[in-house]
């Protein structure tokens, strides 16, 4: 069993890189479609918020100025709350990843590479290695770009069912297979004797409850916990299977791509958003909820508002009832931190692809003064891809840094500060923003700086017991 599981992931991963969530057969097109769809769904999800943003204020002309002032003040007041609400899950995810990296050696062992990064980094010369890693990163990024464009196309042609099924399969794979491997490795590390029957029961329960929570209804905290776990699993996979220089390059390029895709007028994510706006599809959240693939960290109940308005304007009758249901679902959720977390099932293959969308999902919810909405019900959305890449950065820092904990801590603080800044910008601009660039830039700068500059300094200081 141990041998088998050791080889299986490699095989699976190799296969998976093509068809990420699909273990048995993969259809890259399906994946891209799903991802696209997810992204488009996410886009649509974002759109309702931005539309809702505008709508209440348009409707209530008399108090529009007061609304704006209230908006600003409330945004700032609750901005801090949102920041804290985002800090906790991001921190938790990072903590889980770092704890696993430090204790379970499986994730720092080189067991091969993903098929998306075919060039090895164990070359004779530095130049060769650099070239290989650049090629690897280029391949990854082009895969993501292709997937995103396919998704835009798919969204335009409304192939929703395929995406739905694909997402279900991906989450199945993630929840069952990867957590099984993770559990196996944890048991190996702590030398815990375990029989198959118990393991089967545990994994079955974990997986089924996860599927229900994420794709259907469930207690909010449980949903959040599952999304954190899934993000952590994905990040661990990345840390394991991406070679050194490739990983750093990919992180850098992905944040650039994120920036471009979300902000440029011809960027795929931007186009998705615009398409969703044209179709006035504010019902997407319903689709997203039910298909359970795209969940964004949603801190507020802005969705019910959006959906209520959307259902009035909706041109899709069949989606209207789904909307209503979703409204109820959303309202049944805890208003404080109701969460839609983006599913990262597809991430294995192209988390990068979905992340730009999740990036774009960072969006401050406006305060709806017209409703008797609880001021607590306001929030920010953050895509799961963001979680994953933050955790990849911190995990890699803890795994491969000579400065060890100093570097990890420095990257952690840098990422959180980047997140703060991003949320601040979000509060100012009130539209979908990429959450990766600032944090990843800070994180990378601090990683390399701390590892090379601060580490020797602190070492010497500790050696002589000088204190600064």
């Amino acid at each position: 069993m141990t041998e088998l599981s050791a080889h299986l992931p490699q095989f699976q991963h190799g296969q998976l890189t093509e068809n990420f969530p699909d273990n048995h057969l993969s259809n890259t097109n399906d994946n891209s479609e799903r991802r696209r769809h997810d992204n488009s769904e996410r886009r649509r999800n974002d759109n309702p918020e931005s539309e809702t943003n505008g709508q209440p204020q348009n409707n209530i002309q008399q108090v529009v100025e007061q609304d704006e002032e209230d908006d600003e003040e409330l945004t700032l007041k609750y901005g801090a709350k949102h920041v804290i609400m985002l800090f906790v899950p991001v921190t938790l995810c990072m903590v889980v990843v770092v704890a696993t990296i430090k204790s379970v050696s499986f994730y720092t062992r080189k067991d091969g590479q993903l098929i998306y990064t075919p060039f090895t980094e164990e070359t004779e010369t530095v130049g060769q290695r650099a070239l290989n890693s650049i090629l690897n990163a280029a391949i990854m990024i082009s895969v993501i770009i292709v997937m995103t464009i396919l998704l835009v196309v798919l969204y335009k042609y409304r192939c929703y069912k395929v995406i739905h099924g694909w997402l279900i399969i991906s989450s199945l794979l993630l929840l069952f297979f990867f957590s099984f491997i993770y559990l196996g490795e944890v048991f190996k590390t702590y030398n815990v004797a375990m029989d198959y029957i118990t393991v089967a029961l545990m994994i079955w329960n974990f997986g089924v409850v996860g599927m229900i929570c994420i794709h259907w209804k469930g207690p909010l905290r449980l949903q959040q916990a599952y999304l954190i776990m899934i993000s952590a699993l994905m990040a661990l996979v990345f840390i394991k299977y991406l070679p050194e220089w490739t990983a750093w390059l990919i992180l850098a390029v992905i944040s650039v791509y994120d920036l471009v895709a979300v902000l440029c007028p011809k960027g795929p994510l931007r186009m998705l958003v615009e398409t969703a706006q044209e179709r006035n599809e504010t019902l997407f959240p319903a689709l997203i909820y039910s298909s359970t693939m795209i969940w964004l960290v949603n801190m507020a109940e802005e969705d019910p508002e959006a959906q209520r308005k959307a259902s009035k304007n909706s041109t899709y009758d069949k989606q209207a009832p789904a909307n209503q249901t979703q409204n109820e679902d959303a309202e049944a959720d805890d208003g404080g931190f109701s969460q839609e977390w983006q599913q990262q099932r597809d991430n294995r293959i192209g988390p990068i692809e979905s992340t730009p969308e999740s990036r774009a999902a960072v969006q401050a919810l406006p305060s709806n003064s017209q409703t008797s909405e609880d001021p607590e019900e306001r929030g920010v959305k953050l895509g799961l891809g963001d979680f994953i890449f933050y955790s990849v950065l911190v995990g890699k820092a803890s795994a491969t840094a000579s400065g060890d904990w100093n570097t990890t801590l420095a990257c952690f603080v840098a990422i959180l500060i980047g997140l703060c800044l991003t949320l601040l910008l979000l509060a100012i601009f009130k539209k979908a923003l990429p959450a990766l660039p600032i944090s990843i830039t800070f994180g990378l700068v601090f990683y390399f700086a701390t590892d090379n500059l601060v580490q020797p300094f602190m070492d010497q200081l500790a050696f002589h017991q000088f204190y600064i």
Binding site: E73, L409, V413, A414, F446, A449, P456, Q465, Y467, I468
Partner: protein, 208 residues
């Protein structure tokens, strides 16, 4: 915390350049460079504390402008306290965490003739530094608020003295005792500045 980190980064950059530019085998020179690095780092830290103060001042002004009743939801003293805690925690974490990680593993303290109290003294020193950073931030911000430059210089001088006293490690008497005394001084000073008094303290302790 972020600001302390940035100051640490810059100071280590300076030190690194100095080290690379000098002869690595010359022991006293290296130690001298280290001392230079430490002093520079202290000065940089205080500079960043000042920059942080400026930033927070602007933020509070913004909050006041936006608030309903003209007063900010958070006072400058609270901000000073939080800033100090942030600085202290970051400095403490960076000083201690590798030590702690190593302490989990196997090994003997001071087997090569070094002090056997290494871990203990490191822990105490770190603790005193964290406290000191908190108090210094309160003093510093208060000095900046009321334009009392002597307060600010006192903080900088205290920091330099504490760091300097660690230069005579491993003679722990020379570093730990003065540091704790300075901490007590700073603590009472900050307490008085924040509006506390002996009366308040007595009432608090007797739970009135």
């Amino acid at each position: 915390a972020f600001f302390w980190l940035v100051s640490l980064l810059l100071s280590s950059l300076i030190w690194f350049i100095a080290v690379k530019a000098s002869d690595p085998r010359d022991e006293p020179l290296q130690k001298g460079l280290l001392i230079f690095g430490v002093t520079f780092s202290v000065l940089l830290q205080e500079a960043f504390r000042f920059l942080y103060y400026k930033l927070l001042r602007k933020a509070i002004k913004g909050l006041v402008a936006l608030s309903e009743d003209g007063c900010s939801p958070i006072s400058i003293q609270q901000v000073a306290y939080v800033a100090g805690v942030g600085f202290g925690l970051m400095s403490g974490a960076f000083s201690m965490i590798n030590l702690l990680a190593d302490a989990l593993g196997p090994g003997t303290v001071g087997i090569h003739g070094d002090s056997q109290l290494y871990f203990l003294t490191s822990a105490f020193m770190t603790m005193v530094l964290i406290f000191l950073h908190t108090f210094w931030a309160i003093l510093f911000f208060h000095g900046c608020e009321h334009r009392r430059w002597w307060e600010i210089t006192a903080v900088v001088v205290m920091h330099l003295v504490v760091s300097g006293s660690t230069f005579c490690n491993t003679l722990y008497m020379g570093s730990l005792v003065p540091s704790y005394l300075l901490m007590a001084t700073a603590a009472t000073w900050a307490y008085l500045l924040s509006g506390g008094s002996a009366q308040n303290l007595r009432r608090f302790l007797l739970c009135k």
